[in-house]
Symmetry: C3
Subunit: 125 residues, 3 copies
């Protein structure tokens, strides 16, 4: 059900991009009850001035940011969201060597009937 878009700076190695995508998906399966085979992701690499990130905000510095947008169904608690964010940063560091400060995430929540996984059906409605 989640649809994920990850935006990283151009020049990020293919292995790091893949490991980042894996980290986001694994965190979703561990904390958001997302099935293993429910995986739909875009990973885009953005050249120099296409990705604008503040050098620091809220006391965190940013060197090589990854922007992660997760569209998911409504209904998760604040605690679940916190667990997802925490786990994602851990796994991105472990798997991709991504600085924890540089994983910048937001969730966009939608209604359950807003998804189609093919065949023109709203499978969750």
């Amino acid at each position: 059900m989640p649809f994920v878009r990850i935006s990283v700076p151009a020049g990020t190695a293919a292995a790091a991009r893949a490991a980042l995508a894996d980290a986001v998906h694994q965190a979703l399966t561990e904390t958001f009850d997302v099935p293993q085979d429910d995986r739909f992701q875009v990973i885009e690499a953005l050249g120099g001035d296409s990705l604008v990130c503040t050098p620091s905000y809220l006391g965190l510095s940013h060197a090589r940011p990854a922007f992660v947008q997760i569209v998911c169904s409504v209904g998760r608690s604040v605690e679940k969201k916190k667990a997802l964010l925490r786990r994602m940063a851990e796994l991105a560091q472990e798997g991709a060597g991504w600085r924890r400060e540089d994983l910048i995430v937001h969730l966009v929540e939608v209604q359950k009937e807003n998804w189609s996984f093919g065949n023109g059906l709203a499978q969750y409605a």
Copy 2:
């Protein structure tokens, strides 16, 4: 009012991309009361590892997926949403030869006052 983003694998022929975009727009006009000239779309082609899709989910196999994100105003019924999803898959198959299993869609709903179609005005507020 809808804003549409379609993500297809690189190598998708220009004619197929255009037909897919037409199919999404036509389905919106037929089922969501979207005016013909209310059309704002991005169609992006994503190279090899930039588009990650499960080989199958919920019993549907995926070979050459198109991810379709539709931002629209809140207020459509579940029935209308189902009609949109159904019609979109039909038209994508008819017009672009797109496998119905491979049209993967989600809707993001926003408030009516959240749109500007130019001139700095919120035309629907």
Copy 3:
């Protein structure tokens, strides 16, 4: 807190892209209480048929459209949203020479706990 994605036609000069991004950010700081250093943006340039825009809608003509998507937290009044849209169009024209008719915007609102600015924390929760 806002996450901004700006989509412009390929061929838009780098200076115009940068000025457009500046305009969007400045308008957010002036009208939406966004801190100066709370800046996270993607500016993508889209070749020919990747950006589809109606020639006109609601009486406004479109020549060289910029699509602007702003993900932000819920809670702004309609008046604040109108002020943001108005100011953005002014600044885009002043700074980037962008036609006011051609700034096409939508806001996607999310819960406060849906953001992480790094370190795996939900800083606004």
